[in-house]
């Protein structure tokens, strides 16, 4: 049985990638944050970000999906969609 990250774990790992590898300000990490205007990423960062996500989550993000990413929430959604059985956090 393969353990899949929960939704909150996915978001935590994505946030960590952005902070540690792309020097994004943690305070700016909101789902609606735009990668370019709010998180200060540029077009050249895109391919590095996708590589980092794919290494972390052991998945392949199709090119068209990768190119449609605009916000942090889009990243969460794309990664979650590539996880076979991502679960929402349980408990109260």
């Amino acid at each position: 049985m393969t353990l899949q990250p929960t939704t909150s774990e996915i978001e935590t790992l994505v946030d960590r990638i952005l902070v540690e590898e792309f020097e994004v300000d943690p305070e700016a990490l909101r789902p609606e944050a735009k990668l370019v205007t709010d998180l200060d990423l540029d077009s050249l960062d895109g391919v590095d970000l996708v590589v980092a996500l794919e290494k972390t989550f052991l998945c392949r993000i199709p090119e068209d999906e990768a190119k449609s990413i605009r916000t942090l929430g889009d990243i969460y959604d794309r990664v979650r969609a590539r996880m076979p059985a991502a679960q929402a956090p349980t408990g109260a």
Partner: protein
Amino acid sequence: MKPAVGAGDGASGPVLAELVPHRPPILAVDRVLAVTDDFAEAEFRVPIAAADADADGNLWEQTLVEGLAQTASALHATSARRAGRRIARGMLVGIQRFEVRRRARVGETLHYRVELIRELRPLSLVRGIASVGDEVLAQGELKFYVEDEE
């Protein structure tokens, strides 16, 4: 995958010119040894009268980057050709996680190998290694912008 250029019949001269757009005096590969959609290998014998060598015969570090970039040109050109696209212009736009252990010297034969890590057109990311024999001289990642087909 069968290489477009096999190890035994490396591309030089006119064939090399199809794969690598650079021309002397900035041409930094003599021969493309092998190339597929995923990797390319090339070699370059550093000439005695290399313009980019210091008084002691050591080449500038940038020469290794240039050689890797030109090897990547062969990779991109072959990939485009196999996909039925025209061979587009490209440029090196970034270097990262790159280390130079030592500079190449006049008279040495450099071996360049580049592997495609990821392509998100028009950007591609490759890992490159420059070596002499078994000794790695430099390695790291290079990022390219390659024009999209119109």
